[in-house]
């Protein structure tokens, strides 16, 4: 009897064509399907979520926020091996919310698994080279969200312009002191996030970095930098620290900051935002 797991039948291959055959044979074939940007499209690549940070809700809310853009496509990377120089080579914006841990849960092309495969490493040298090159030399925007500051790579910290400081226990956080004139925060007042990990950062170069907003942890009373932005070569970087749970991405004020930050990082005019709701 034929091993159907590994060898698709001739009929199946003919029905689905070469792409179907490749996809059925090996997961690495997914590399062949790396999405290229269509004319007029805004290509956004996102790498978000892990054991600590719910990928499902992050993806849902980031799609809700950014889908308002005309011809905006958000490509979520499901395994870090697919975060390649080729994928980023025509991307307008990269969104990351990943600390230094491996992909967890690890991606599998199989619909049913008895054992979860080992997760890919993220923040490899190849990842860093591709990201830095596309930001610095091509002008790709980069939104560094939440735990990205704990990538564990000094090169990332230097590039996004901060020294990371760990959060304390998860608690309510007040977002305050929003920059009154910066396009990302102008006109947005103090607001409240139900539960979050309040990271903090030390800005490496205050001369070239703009602090967008600060936060106050309700239990600790720690006052922390929670949003900043800077230029890097031809590109722009925005750091936003809220985002541990889905609560953060459901807050209309934070959704609007996210929307505006994406456009600022892409060096676009910022269209009016309509909060999509939870």
């Amino acid at each position: 009897m034929m091993n159907r797991e590994k060898s698709p039948s001739r009929r199946t291959a003919l029905k689905t064509g070469a792409a179907g055959l490749a996809a059925a044979v090996t997961p690495i074939a997914a590399k062949a399907a790396i999405p290229k940007k269509a004319p007029g499209e805004t290509k956004i690549v996102a790498v978000m979520g892990d054991y600590w940070h719910p990928a499902a809700s992050q993806e849902r809310h980031v799609r809700q926020i950014l889908s308002q853009g005309k011809n905006y496509t958000v490509h979520f990377v499901l395994a870090s091996r697919f975060l390649t120089a080729e994928l980023l080579s025509d991307a307008d914006l990269l969104i990351t919310a990943r600390y230094g841990g491996a992909d967890d849960p690890a991606w599998s092309p199989d619909p049913v698994i008895s054992e979860r495969p080992k997760g890919d490493r993220i923040w490899t040298d190849e990842h860093l080279d591709a990201i830095f090159d596309n930001v610095r030399n091509r002008g790709m925007g980069w939104m560094s969200i939440h735990c990205t500051i704990f990538s564990g790579r000094t090169e990332v910290e230097d590039f996004i312009g901060i020294e990371p400081i760990l959060h304390q226990e998860i608690q309510p956080v007040v977002i305050k002191d929003l920059h009154p004139t910066h396009p990302i925060t102008e006109g947005i007042g103090t607001f409240f996030i139900n539960l979050d990990e309040q990271f903090d950062v030390q800005i490496k170069d205050p001369e070239t970095t703009t602090v967008l907003f600060r936060s106050l942890a309700v239990h600790d009373k720690r006052d922390a930098v929670s949003g900043w932005c800077l230029d890097r070569g031809k590109g722009r970087v925005v750091g936003l620290l809220p985002g541990h749970y889905q609560w953060s991405y459901r807050v209309p004020e934070y959704q609007e900051i996210f929307w505006r930050a994406a456009h600022w990082a892409m060096q676009r005019e910022i269209p009016a935002f309509k909060a999509p709701g939870a």
Binding site: W52, G152, P164, I165, L166, Q168, E169, D200, Q202, D220, R222
Partner: protein
């Protein structure tokens, strides 16, 4: 007689060296420490003010969460829960946000973290800056200090 004098001279040199070499080695192998500029540096056992020591005997650093008679060779902190790091794994720890007891832990293997430290006191065998000799174990509030640097040495 002349030979006897030479023997005594060599013996004197040897004995002097025997004392000098270990104290120099002690200083070379020491753990670097630093106090807050305005710290009171009160020894928690004797109540006396301590000199502003800058070195401690390697292997002597102990942390105290609540009791001075229960020393621990690891630092305790909050990350995703309560965690510990042995002093043998640490390159250094430097104070970042005193109000929140947040220190930057740098590990010998190159990674780092900035958690809230749960230990309240630290004790060590100081090395005096003038004679390079050890003094009696000192117990101080961790908040009195700004740096403990073990370096790469085991």
């Amino acid at each position: 007689m002349k030979h006897h004098k030479l023997t005594l001279l060599l013996l004197a040199i040897f004995l002097t060296g025997a004392f000098i070499i270990p104290t120099n080695l002690l200083a070379d192998e020491a753990v670097k420490i630093a106090f807050e500029e305005n710290a009171k540096r009160i020894d928690l056992v004797t109540g006396r003010e301590l000199p502003s020591y800058t070195a401690a005997e390697r292997g002597s650093i102990r942390f105290h969460r609540g009791r001075l008679d229960d020393p621990e060779a690891f630092v305790t902190f909050f990350h995703d829960g309560i965690r510990k790091s042995g002093t043998d794994q640490l390159f250094s720890m430097e104070k970042v946000q005193p109000r929140f007891a947040i220190w930057r832990l740098r590990y010998k293997r190159g990674n780092k973290n900035t958690p809230r430290i749960h230990d309240l006191a630290v004790s060590f065998i100081p090395i005096t800056s003038d004679t390079k000799e050890t003094a009696r174990r000192a117990y101080v509030l961790l908040s009195d200090m700004t740096l403990i640097e073990w370096g790469d040495k085991e």
